[in-house]
Amino acid sequence: MFRTALIRSVGAATAAASRATITRPAVARRVVSAIPSARFAPAQRLGAVRMYSAASGLKKEEVEGRIMGILSGFDKVNDPSNIKPTAHFANDLGLDSLDTVEVVMAIEEEFSIEIPDKDADAIHSVNQAVEYILNQPDAN
């Protein structure tokens, strides 16, 4: 809007200049001085209205649901009815250590993060995985 107004005023000024040749030097000065302000003013306005989206924290129920969804698609789980928010991978779901690694890798892919080895080794149950994901700001 500011820019349109500026162009309009410059247009009016040049029209006036063509009508009255005697005022031309003054108008030319005005146009030149108007250019820098035209360059900087919109930037300041944009700076004022620029917005950043807030971090969209994941909800616990959603994370739980997605992790349980991964497990229900995993054919090594002994019984799908055992998949509960507190289920332990080895004790409740009958997964061995290699299966646990696969589940943790699948969780990594689901939430687009990379879990370092020492943290991955500490995840042995659904609620541990949920807690870990909730503590990751990058998880989505």
């Binding site: 290699l98 690694v101 696969e102 890798m105 892919e109 080895d117």
Partner: protein, 114 residues
């Protein structure tokens, strides 16, 4: 199977397959099945078994080959476009035929030498 060394090797190998076959679900699934079968086949090794270090070493070597020496290509027009990633091994003319990173100057001459 000794979990202290086998688990990191298993994870490393799965990660390597994910890097090497990214976006290619058919091959990635086949690689995962093959990795799993390979580890299951040796699942009965005890921590004191003399074959265990060799099996782990084999897994780690497969992982490094997958990471460094496998590149995906996609036909674009008449040429394959290669997806070279940060782990891909890049040699130059002096080193490309030398294993284990040993360096040798083949000639020492440059193009301007006659």
């Amino acid at each position: 199977m000794s979990t202290t060394t086998a688990i990191p090797a298993y994870r490393n190998l799965l990660r390597a397959a994910r890097i090497a076959f990214q976006g290619d679900n058919r091959v990635l699934t086949a690689a995962r099945i093959s990795i799993r079968d390979g580890f299951r086949a040796n699942a009965s090794l005890t921590p004191s078994d003399p074959n265990l270090p060799g099996a782990i070493k084999h897994a780690q070597e497969v992982a490094s080959i997958l990471r460094q020496n496998v590149v995906q290509g996609k036909m674009e027009g008449e040429a394959y476009k290669l997806r070279i990633h940060k782990d891909t091994e890049r040699g130059d003319n002096d080193t490309i035929k030398m294993p284990n990173g040993t360096k040798v100057k083949i000639d020492g001459k440059t193009c301007s030498d006659k």
